[in-house]
Symmetry: D2
Subunit: 357 residues, 4 copies
């Protein structure tokens, strides 16, 4: 398969460029009989869409999803769920200045070389607009996994790093601030930092963390499709992501085994959960938690040197309406991708042993 | 597909438990006409095998691979390459003490719960012994990609972190020291550190870094199968891995866009390569580099509390011969998985545009 | 993967029910750089659509395809090609009489039992309307394979069987008659036969044959994905198909080896081609030819007994506008599925050996 | 994936050439907890192996399977089941005469052209020896599907065609005669016919029919992975198969809808089952039945003209020990492939709707 499908059983295939008529996708493998909450789907779309607050891009995209199949009288039928999201605000003229120019740290150069032919308007297929389709599919996956609770949040913006353990964070405050940081004080600092960056015409990176609670034991298909490996691929497939770590992550590399081993409680839970809820690639029922690194947005409202497709050196400056920091809007995307991974493994796990029939 | 296959075109499917009669695999999709260098394959196996030095496990495993098909007169035929590696040193009696006990931070608990039935001897399928099969397949992938140079090395052992850029490291010294660290001074420190840890009956984590040179432009299949996402999944599927970052990675999250953007040189290369050789999920021809986090080995030569399958609290202590630090032996495994990812995308890229026919 | 995707490299995923707002699909893996002839795509759609002649259903469906992505300035970009076809003529009220009734030899009963929930309007997902999406994808595959010539035609309608070899048929007359039979005399007989059947309110089965010329040597991926096995699956996946045979087919079972073996000419071609252009699952460069059996259309304009979902026995009679014989409209569908199979193997074959790079 | 894997959930990947050291495979996705009956597996191998009777090849191949993983204390563990079958009777010298010669209607020519490099000994990968691996996997699939009864038998040998309905055949006599025909009188005729053909140094084709009873309702994944389409691909992937038809098959094309439609009984069964147990690609609980066409064996014990790889015309004659008619030994292979298809869909169907959890 070419690279626009994700999942083995609960699958999503997406299509669409940022400035085509529409983007969309097909969800195949969603079990029949799931009564959908369309408001909940729309709410996820609203969390991702531009223009929500002063610290994200001011583009106006209604991002309303239209379902075309696979649902009858509000309930999934087991047939593929096709959907489209119109690109109502295409403004293609904004992009003529990049037709022959490769924007630094964008995908213009690589798409051009790989395919020899690209839709240069707004990044085309490489635009993060495509993630709207992931949010649609993820919102349905979340409903399938109603007992599982997936919560992502911003834990880092540039130098500002939230180093508290997730257990002490106020998850119910996440949607109360535009940064989506579950520590109200830090949220204000981050918001001010982003505003400052935007004034400079600059951008900044950040970290999205995610905690998944109530995961059934047994999700994951070793040896290659370990649960954390699939989560890693899912997160790394999101635009601008540079790294993924779960459980003790990179800091665990500095520890000794005698510190790092998770001592069992009699009920099978552990005292420390450095494993991050996954052992041997299979969920153990404890909280899954991981961090996702996002680089600074590449489009700057500053002049920067670059080259044309002919290798000529030119100066360019971003136009239009771009995010100074991508992490607040990435929160629902991280949750969506986590939900897609879990839905796939949740279904597969139902057929992993005979007694589970 | 269940989770024991990797790759879409150049695929490897593995089987085998640590204490069964043999492990092995099938490589399907290797093009016909590749004249194999069997000594080079054996050399990779030697790099991974136990007992190479004083700082790794002293188990004796000859780890000799026997090819059963797909090769005729030394050259691949385009048919599947089946191979087996015998487990000559099974010593199953070593493991009776863990039959009903869940070792902390191992996969005993999760395999038992998921499958309801497991080969408890030495971790069974969850043992890192399985990675020997990956090294076989990776060694063939390396030969397919003869122009590409993949070099992994140890860049961290516990608190000892090599923070030099890869450009200044002495790659030709990697195999000269048992740690596989390309900085001779640091190598000695790391070796001493590991010896010390071993004396304590303890273990320690570490970091393997990898640099890939001479990668053709165009490898990667967005939007889900981005090159770095596939590399991430590949690395995270290796036993004991907790994290993956490429290019600027987690440290890039703290940077501003104006610092992080890679300014192009006229020839399309960049001045900084924070992108890590991948833009928009597609290789851009520059060095690919990434870090892989390994947790401390979970088997300790110390007493530690744990539970039985009945939830009873007991004490246990590792027996047998185990690695105090896994990263030196992980170096060839990281390279092998990188080679498998690249081989897959290298083949796919040949059919990505019409002019490439 | 769930069952709505076809192909490994050149893939099509479809969605849509007969009476939803739209049907559509995503083509992923089409190489970049293919300049599309949209008129040719539209022409294939016209060949499949209802209402073309007096012997097919008189439903009016404009069946115009709208491409939403993957094409820029008329040329494929290597990104997924999303498309939709609106259902302009839904007339859902026609179907209230079958809401709780299982039509004989339709999929109502099995969809209801499998999924517990179905869109009963016009067969929903089980309607042959879905094949319009296959024709779109097949039309693009045909353009990719411009050197290969795929020709399907009607060779049987009920008892009327065309037993001439394809070499003596007048392929240029196929589109001149509503039956799509390349023997003008037989075409008239078949047309009259179908008209007669329609007057009776009855339906009839038939056979579509297909000949593929100029196939490169080497297409097919044994041992499971033999070229003819993939063609067989493709054809059997078309609505109403009951059988597939290629080359000598079922009649070859009655022959002796001494009669059936294809004696080679010095150039590698054969004197008899009972192999049907495929040996060992791989194309040998000779004409591929095969037959596809279609059952009679299940919807009759006669009263027939059936049951409700409660098991109550009732009488029902087809309403609306249905085909008395499906084979004339199946001709472009058979060609489309053949093109999809060939496109997939044509791409795969480019990476089957090193010298083909 | 390259073409040596079959199935999506319950998968088999095979390797091996007829004259290598061993053939084998990996079964991945078999649920844990299946207590295996190894005698039953061996019995299936015995049904397929050469030398069983006077009418099949007299080659001696013990065909004993050695399981290497995935089974612990006789029960599947959910990890991949690796197995090998040694080629004890390689006699490679028998094949030097075909090194540079293309045998008519074999795969020598196409493998040579596709791969540019082949193991010419005994057909190499294209040999039907590979089907031994399918029988192993199929035997395990049969045990997984213990409630389903799959029975294949010979219904045609050359001109001798068994035209009785399967309901009146004596299935308990199938293994009592070397032809595996469930009509004792016809079995004698067929046996004599084959003996006569063998005396002539000739071969003959035939038909294997298969009946599957007690199939749960709901197996099959439309629109592409319809149950009968997957069965068709499975059967067509067996060596020497030229056609597949199910239910009314090709003869159904001559019928009218009013004759062909299966009238429901109140319990959902039908009076005629022309549908062959499958409607809309999904099993309906009635008997599945289908026919598989096998061409005459291509290796003759007669002289026949052919060409060398240089295009030179030469005469050749088969050496060694070959079957005059393949269908008796194909019976267990047809059953094995049917079992593999059903196992896959049986598992998938468990996750097709929410209420099936």
């Amino acid at each position: 398969m070419a690279g626009n499908s994700f999942g083995k059983i609960f699958t999503i295939t997406t299509f669409g460029e940022s400035h085509g008529e529409a983007i969309g996708g097909i969800i195949d493998g969603c079990p029949a009989g799931l009564a959908l909450d369309f408001d909940a789907i729309e709410a996820e779309m609203q969390r991702r869409k531009p223009g929500q607050s002063a610290i994200v891009t001011q583009r106006k995209e209604p991002d309303s999803v239209k379902f075309l199949s696979g649902i009858f009288e509000g309930t999934t039928t087991g047939t593929p769920i096709g959907f489209v999201i119109e690109n109502t605000n295409q403004k293609s003229n904004d992009y003529s200045h990049i037709k022959d120019t490769y924007r630094p740290s964008h995908a213009d150069f690589t798409y051009d070389k790989k395919y020899g032919n690209r839709d240069y308007r707004g990044g085309g297929r490489s635009s993060a607009r495509e993630t709207a389709c992931r949010v649609v599919a993820g919102a349905i996956a979340k409903q399938l996994l109603s007992e599982i609770k997936i919560t992502a949040y911003v834990s880092g913006v540039g130098p500002l790093q939230l180093d508290k353990k997730h257990q002490v964070l106020q998850f119910d405050t996440i949607e109360d601030n535009p940064v989506r940081c579950p520590d109200p004080e830090m949220a204000v600092s981050m918001e001010n930092y982003i505003k400052d960056i935007r004034k400079q015409g600059d951008t900044v990176g950040g970290v999205v963390s995610c905690v998944i609670k109530n995961v059934p034991i047994g999700l994951g298909e070793p040896v290659f499709d370990k649960l954390h490996a699939a989560l890693g691929q899912a997160m790394l497939s999101i635009n601008a992501v540079k790294g993924f770590e779960y459980g003790s992550g990179f800091s665990g590399t500095k520890m000794k085994g005698s510190e790092h081993n998770d001592v069992f409680n009699p009920d099978g839970s552990t005292q420390t959960n450095f494993s991050g809820g996954v052992q041997g690639g299979i969920s153990n029922g404890e909280d899954i938690y991981f961090n996702v690194a996002f680089k600074p947005v590449a489009t700057l409202m500053q002049k920067q040197p670059t080259i044309t497709s002919e290798g000529e050196q030119v100066e360019m400056q971003g136009k239009g309406r771009h995010d100074p920091c991508v992490v607040p809007r990435a929160v629902p995307i991280v949750e969506a991708m986590a939900a897609l991974v879990l839905a796939d493994f949740w279904l597969l796990n139902k057929i992993s042993k005979l007694s589970s029939e």
